[in-house]
């Protein structure tokens, strides 16, 4: 009997997977699964240390679209066994692309997400406005202004503001992308002081300061979710995964009033919505690769999705990974957001996400090791700009200097 240790993030879908372990163990009586469930940041530290130091604590680890290509490149990961019944072609192409390095799939997507607009149909209507499928940022701002009513505790738009490359920078990068900006030029020189960045960040800061809830600079997904579910946001632009939460009457006071739309655009459609996937990967150092493969294939299979659908209802299945999910009638019926989500994911292209050419892969990040540091610092600066402790220009300048330092040190130029 083999015991495998799975490190995973503490998000709802993974918790569900953990609960369904008995089904797996029943099907594979010779494998036992042990779970380590951690908060995202801590998980990332943990698995990175584990894999970089070849400690071998984990046999399966949950990683993001950021790590997969980098680690694959380092040879730290065992490619996913896509043979046989796995149906690798069913995986959404942009997701598959983001998790591959030089054509090899290094992590199997467990669920995927993009970003989109969620809005309160009732409030928008009452304000005499409309939200169409793909609006411009300027229009979104106007809607926000119309809906904004802080005296009633309703804020025009809720956006991420908490510093972090996976927090505010995910959103801000998509705004910047749509304003035509890019992180690096072809020579890997950071471009944060470019006109487009300034435009984008100014727009973002202006929007959130005027029509956002107080405390935005420390809000991330959860804080916004809480606000939205409490009925305090007219609009919310965030991960597509939120759709299943805001439409769940058990969690949301406004479940039946939510409308969905594609992320706003400005100068370009490119990179206007992000692409992310939590995926399961197998470290090269594991001695239980075979059992690990078995598990990964099970957890990211069509059958697993079906299992969740049958057990917990189709609205609760992990989405954003397989075409077949979206083709499933039961899913379409249960999930009002299905169409919007699929569209968003499909419209994101990690290899081509900026108006001007860029050398990196990734929509809302650049899949290079240095990006964490660069993104984190930039995130801190922009949250500083948002909270008013510095100007946008200052923030971008500091962020650029810092990015330049990192890139120089890493000898990109």
């Amino acid at each position: 009997e083999t015991q495998i240790t799975v490190a995973t993030v503490n998000n709802g879908h993974m918790i569900e997977m953990q609960k369904l372990t008995p089904a797996f163990e029943k099907a594979h009586p010779d494998i036992k699964v042990k779970w380590v469930t951690l908060e995202e940041n801590i998980l990332r530290q943990n698995v990175t240390q584990d894999i970089a130091n070849k400690s071998g604590l984990y046999d399966v680890m949950t990683i993001g679209m950021y790590e997969a290509p980098i680690w694959g490149d380092r040879g730290w990961l065992t490619p996913v066994d896509v043979s046989g019944s796995y149906d690798v072609d069913d995986i959404l192409p942009s997701i598959r692309q983001g998790l591959s390095h030089e054509g090899t799939l290094y992590a199997a997507p467990f669920y995927g997400e993009s970003s989109m607009v969620m809005y309160r149909k009732d409030l928008v209507k009452d304000a005499g406005m409309t939200v169409s499928d793909r609006d411009s940022w300027e229009h979104i701002r106007d809607v926000a202004a119309a809906v904004h009513n802080p005296d009633e505790g309703v804020y025009g738009i809720c956006l991420r503001g908490k510093a972090g490359w996976g927090d505010n920078m995910a959103l801000v990068t998509t705004i910047a992308n749509s304003f035509g900006a890019r992180w690096f030029d072809e020579d890997w020189k950071p471009q944060l002081e470019s006109k487009e960045w300034k435009q984008a960040v100014n727009f973002y800061v202006d929007l959130v300061t005027k029509y956002g809830p107080p405390g935005s600079s420390s809000n991330s997904f959860n804080e916004s979710l809480a606000l939205f579910n409490e009925g305090r946001c007219g609009m919310w632009i965030d991960a597509t995964i939120a759709a299943s939460f805001v439409t769940d009457p058990a969690q949301s006071k406004v479940a039946d009033q939510v409308g969905f739309a594609q992320s706003p655009i400005s100068a370009t459609e490119k990179g206007a919505n992000w692409l992310w996937s939590w995926s399961l990967a197998i470290p090269a150092a594991t001695k239980k690769a075979e059992a690990a493969q078995t598990f990964v294939r099970w957890a990211t299979s069509k059958e697993y999705i079906e299992l969740v659908g049958e057990t917990n209802g189709w609205a609760a299945v992990p989405t954003g990974t397989r075409t077949s999910t979206y083709e499933n009638a039961k899913f379409q019926k249960a999930a009002v957001f299905a169409e919007a989500e699929l569209k968003a994911i499909n419209s994101a292209d990690p290899t081509d996400s900026t108006l001007k050419p860029s050398p990196y892969v990734g929509v809302q990040f650049a899949a290079i090791p240095e990006f964490q540091a660069i993104g984190t610092t930039a995130g801190q600066m922009i949250s500083g700009a948002l909270s008013g402790s510095m100007s946008v220009d200052q923030a971008l300048k500091s962020a650029n200097v810092s990015a330049d330092r990192q890139m120089r040190r890493a000898k990109y130029y």
């Binding site: 240790t5 998000n11 953990q18 951690l38 505790g153 959860n222 579910n229």
Partner: protein, 276 residues
């Protein structure tokens, strides 16, 4: 007002004020406790829900998801184990420093305290690599060793301060009675300083129990204590405050209750040599 009445009134005012401050300071904990019985929606409602139908759903969820008993056991074993180990190492040292001080004693003591100035984050990698090489990753042993070394300076210092206040004559009497140094420690010093030892132990246990950095980095799985369990409830995607409150309540309850019961001890023993 008579003298008596004045005094009573003063006492009343003191009590009133003390109670208000205590309630304010305790409020966050109370609120966490209350929140653990709410639904996620109630947990974020504005204005805060004061009256609601309590639910045990969060506790059920925690029970389903995490092996609370395992984590709690790890916490107990690592914090008690390291405390006991540290006491065993510290007592002879404190005894020798307090009763047979040399010229260097003071310097040694300050040096010991200064080892606590090493920031854990800065030495994470060396310790991580050492633990990996000695097969200590994800073992309780790793935590016990680190906690022991981490708290040793403070324990030595606290015991030293306390021992120094013990009447020397009692030890001399024992010596006249034919006691060896070992007899002195075991039969006289230890029984006499039970209060100090237990409060030192309590402080050490509290510090170990709440230590999150090393436990998260070195022992995330099998040997994970309750601090690591909390990490599986904080900040997932989705609403989590009620569940986190339940998990936190479960994680903190043992040590808080333990602390309440030992409060007297703690107050008696935390003298740091301040009682002459």
């Amino acid at each position: 007002m008579t003298l008596n009445q004045q005094r009573k009134f003063k006492t009343f005012l003191t009590g009133l004020f003390a109670w208000s401050v205590a309630l304010v300071l305790f409020f966050p904990i109370f609120w966490m406790f209350i929140t653990s019985f709410k639904t996620e929606l109630q947990a974020i409602s504005v204005p805060p829900a004061l009256f609601f139908e309590p639910t045990l759903e969060n506790y059920v969820e925690v029970q389903e998801r995490s092996d609370y008993v395992k984590h709690a056991l790890n916490s107990v074993i690592t914090s008690f184990g390291s405390t006991i180990l540290a006491l065993i190492i510290a007592i002879p040292a404190a005894y020798s420093m307090a009763f047979f001080p040399g010229k260097r004693t003071k310097d040694i003591l300050l040096w010991m305290l200064s080892t606590k100035m090493l920031p854990a984050v800065g030495v994470l990698m060396p310790i991580y690599l050492l633990s990996r090489d000695y097969g200590l990753l994800d073992t309780r042993a790793a935590l016990v060793i680190i906690f022991t070394l981490m708290n040793l300076p403070i324990i030595v210092w606290m015991l030293f301060s306390y021992f120094k206040d013990l009447p020397k004559e009692i030890l001399e009497a024992a010596r006249m009675d034919g006691a060896t140094p070992w007899d002195e420690i075991v039969k006289v010093v230890l029984p006499l300083s039970l209060g100090a030892i237990s409060s030192t132990a309590l402080l050490s246990i509290v510090l170990c129990w709440n230590e999150a950095f090393w436990s998260l980095n070195l022992t995330p799985s099998d040997a994970a204590p309750l601090t690591a369990m909390i990490a599986s409830y904080s900040s997932p995607e989705g609403l989590f405050w009620a569940k986190l409150s339940a998990a936190s309540t479960l994680a903190c309850a043992p040590i808080v209750i333990f602390g309440w019961f030992c409060q007297k001890q703690l107050v008696q023993g935390l003298t740091f040599g301040a009682v002459k």
